[in-house]
């Protein structure tokens, strides 16, 4: 079943993320595609993730379609102005891509070309709005398209934050994205189920499916690094302790991820697994979570 149909059928939906590498070598991505086929409902392809220059999302999505997967084309507002973004959306439609995820995008200074000029001509809410307009047959400027797009449009939300302002702003922006046409949400990584439940209490009334983010922990160092450096990711102390006590830390990381998925299952409509280099372990996580 394709991603959109899976979500709309009410089935607990699973997506996984793949990140293209820096360079023209697609071996790894294609291997991952083989392993994920039939195991997940959709595959997100990141767009110059963390502002690090690499192979593009558009072409990688195309390769995934050839492999029989249903890609979710991630688009950030950092690198392209409204002309380039819309043109790539037309490109994506012609290549058979059905799903798009609109993101603001990390600032260039976070990546490997910190000298780059940031674009942000339009923001993520406006990008969702633009895609919706293109679905109706018009570009952002109101000109008619010869052949419209037909995208299933999603956006992101950070469900757990460190300040009240950030939390309320996430909810306000989420509502704006829905009004602009977002039909699904994928979230930043979740490790605290109670905190996520508090978010869902506020967000479930919006009536738009939410896929909770899962990042399997590889090590104690990774957990600490994310707590310190990645906005919106909070690994609770007890999980860090559990990791540090475990003999096989990698295995424990997968088990924790599977446990989180089980705990989240009744709270939201699906999970989005961002394995960050561990894509090949996604089937194992799903098996441990009883979703295989």
């Amino acid at each position: 079943m394709a991603f959109k149909e899976a979500l709309q059928s009410g089935k607990f939906t699973v997506t996984a993320e793949v990140g293209p590498l820096k360079g023209t070598d697609t071996t790894e991505v294609l291997e991952v595609a083989e392993l994920l086929r039939g195991k997940v409902d959709g595959v997100n392809v990141t767009d110059q993730q963390s502002a690090v220059m690499r192979l593009g999302s558009l072409v990688t999505c195309h390769l995934l379609i050839q492999k029989g997967l249903d890609p979710i084309f991630q688009m950030t507002c950092r690198d392209r102005n409204r002309i380039a973004l819309q043109s790539d959306l037309l490109n994506a439609h012609v290549l058979g891509i059905k799903n798009v995820l609109a993101i603001t995008g990390d600032y260039p200074t976070l990546g490997d070309h910190p000298d780059a000029k940031a674009v942000y001509d339009i923001d993520s809410v406006q990008l969702v709005w633009t895609i919706n307009r293109m679905n109706q047959g018009y570009d952002l400027a109101g000109n008619e398209l010869q052949g419209k797009t037909d995208f299933f449009v999603g956006a992101v939300v950070t469900p757990i934050t460190d300040t009240e302002a950030a939390f309320e702003l996430q909810l306000i922006k989420m509502e704006k994205k829905i009004e602009a046409g977002a039909r699904f949400f994928q979230t930043q990584a979740v490790y605290d189920v109670d905190a996520f439940a508090r978010f869902m209490k506020r967000a479930e009334g919006f009536g738009v499916p939410i896929l909770a983010g899962i990042i399997p922990l590889k090590s104690v160092g990774m957990a600490r690094y994310m707590n310190k450096n990645v906005a919106g990711v909070f690994v609770p102390e007890h999980l860090i302790e559990e990791m540090s006590k475990a003999e096989d830390k990698a295995q424990r990381g997968l088990e924790i991820a599977a446990r989180l998925i089980k705990d989240l299952k009744d709270l939201c409509q699906g999970v989005h697994i961002m394995a960050i280099g561990w894509e090949k372990k996604v089937p194992e996580i799903l098996e441990l979570a009883g979703l295989a």
Binding site: R82, T104, G105, D106, Y107, T109, L110, A118, Y120, D121, I122, D123, S124, V125, Q126, W129, T130, L140, V156, V157, T158, D162, T163, A165, A166, E168, L169, Q170, I172, K173, E175, K176, E179, A180, Q188, A231, G232
Partner: protein
């Protein structure tokens, strides 16, 4: 010198929908020179607003609205008139509106757009910055400029990169959107954040030829 132009009167009336009592604040600095916020324009605005059925609780012109201390001291004797208003219409540049709204504890309405001069601008007196975008958004953001207070210039809300209220681009800098949230919350105006703001017309950020025109430029125009 910062150059401003008055917003179309219809836009100002749109902002003021549901607002009955208004205080008008002008600026005798650049706005006076731009003929957008000196005494003549303030009095004219008063008349137009009254003509549109609004009650003007008072009005004044401060030498430099970009100087927060000065604004505070000049408004002190007028506090009753200011507080009697549902909001304060400010006729000046983006910096002046931001500085004045940091001092005034009432909802604010920017009455002007700050237009680009193409690089040369006056000095600022405080933390406020204006990109001279030509279509001022301060109404929606409680008087804090999203184009300069947010490192990415996002205008529909934050990016999700902030940590403990600091921006993802620099830990030394507050997340502009969290500041906007706090300001609007204090004013009971959080609903203003719900409005979808369409993509900006960046063409308005290019200085118009007549603004750029120097004698050299004029010479270059001849063949």
């Amino acid at each position: 010198m910062v150059r401003s132009e008055q917003k179309p009167f219809e836009e100002i009336l749109d902002y003021l929908e549901g607002t009955k009592k208004v205080f008008i604040l002008g600026c005798d600095g650049c706005a006076q020179a731009s003929q957008t916020g000196g005494w003549p324009q303030v009095l004219e605005m008063k008349e137009r607003l009254e003509g549109a059925g609004k009650e003007v609780t008072g009005c004044t012109v401060v030498d430099f609205l970009c100087q927060k201390a000065l604004v505070a001291s000049r408004l002190r004797p007028l506090e009753e008139q200011v507080m009697a208003a549902d909001g304060v219409l400010i006729l000046t540049c983006g910096i002046g509106v931001q500085a004045a709204s940091a001092v005034i504890k009432r909802p604010i309405f920017p009455g002007c757009n700050t237009v680009p001069l193409g690089g040369t601008r006056g000095e600022w007196m405080g933390a406020e910055r204006c990109l001279e975008c030509g279509d001022c958004l301060l109404y929606w953001t409680g008087g804090i400029c999203p184009l300069t207070a947010c490192s990415k210039g996002l205008i529909n809300g934050p990016c999700g990169g902030a940590s403990n209220g600091k921006c993802e681009v620099s830990k030394e800098k507050d997340c502009g959107w969290e500041l906007i949230y706090q300001r609007l919350k204090e004013l009971g105006q959080l609903h203003r954040l719900k409005k979808f703001i369409a993509p900006k017309d960046y063409n308005k950020m290019r200085p118009r030829p007549e603004i750029l025109s120097t004698s050299l430029w004029a010479l270059e125009q001849r063949d």
